[in-house]
Homo-oligomer: 148 residues x 2
DNA sequence: TAACTTGTAACTACTTGTATTACATGTTAA
DNA sequence: TTAACATGTAATACAAGTAGTTACAAGTTA
């Protein structure tokens, strides 16, 4: 089981909006870069818009960034695309037996630990921005072009 | 999307094996505490056995712990029950367009970051042992019994 | 008005998780 | 040796989520 690719697609979209900021980034154009369907891109772009990360309006071609690149963390994207509901990264089996000492206490015992683990994950995502990703992409691009 | 409850059930099973170590912990007994099916318990117990965490043998009633409580971390359980394949917590959309600067570099740009985040999660799980969980359960149990 | 774009619903195919049933295999004790 | 019981495992069913696709209403622009 993996966290939905909507997350990585969201990162892809935002990076593309920056790198191709001179062009018009329609859902069809973005879909070709991601290699998927325009409708799926519009769905994800809509989520990014709801989170205040991009500007995109009905009828008007192209999406644009709504915030500074350095102001958008991967955590913002992660939360925007709804891949994991808050505090629900780990599924906890419900209705354990209340007649059992373990059953009636296990949930309270593991929930705080799951929260800590989830927060550790989110913290790691929170320190990386789309700007970092874009810089990395452009760097790799230059390296690829270099002839030895 | 959530990480399978096999993880929390695995923690439940191991805690129960300790707290009810005087009794015989058959799959049916454990299933009643977890409130699920004996077959599912046997499946998970089998995974814990493959990871060297419990002793359980065909035909012989009851599972027992195979390691010291303080030697079993939640990370051990997490890995034992196979809820997430290594390096695959985050799904990455495949076949991005190689003709696009973003498409041909995005995977390499985000993979290391996803790895770091995944490791942060695992680290948080690695510092908590089943002993900690058991202590917490017994503590809550005492608190529940206390009359003010 | 025509052409184009976004927003969104509906549908399909696929995968995974969980519950359940069934039964082969192994163990124990009368 | 047989009866009773436990584990291991396969098969099935169902729900939920993902991803791909089509279709079309509604908004925008020339």
């Amino acid at each position: 089981m993996s966290i939905s690719t909507r997350f990585s697609v969201g990162i892809h979209i935002l990076s593309l909006l920056e790198i191709n900021k001179e062009g018009v980034n329609t859902s069809e154009f973005i879909a070709k870069s991601v290699n998927t369907n325009p409708a799926l891109i519009r769905k994800i772009t809509g989520m990014l818009r709801n989170a205040g990360l991009v500007n995109v309006r009905p009828g008007i071609a192209g999406a644009t960034l709504a915030k500074e690149l350095s102001d958008i963390t991967l955590l913002d994207v992660y939360q925007a695309v709804n891949v994991v509901q808050d505090k629900e990264l780990f599924g906890i089996h419900d209705n354990p037996n209340p007649a059992c000492p373990v059953g009636r206490n296990i949930q309270d015992a593991i929930e705080p630990i799951f929260s800590i683990a989830e927060l550790a994950l989110e913290k790691a995502l929170g320190v990386v921005t789309i700007e970092d990703i874009v810089k990395d992409i452009l760097e790799k691009e230059e390296l690829g072009k270099r002839s030895f």
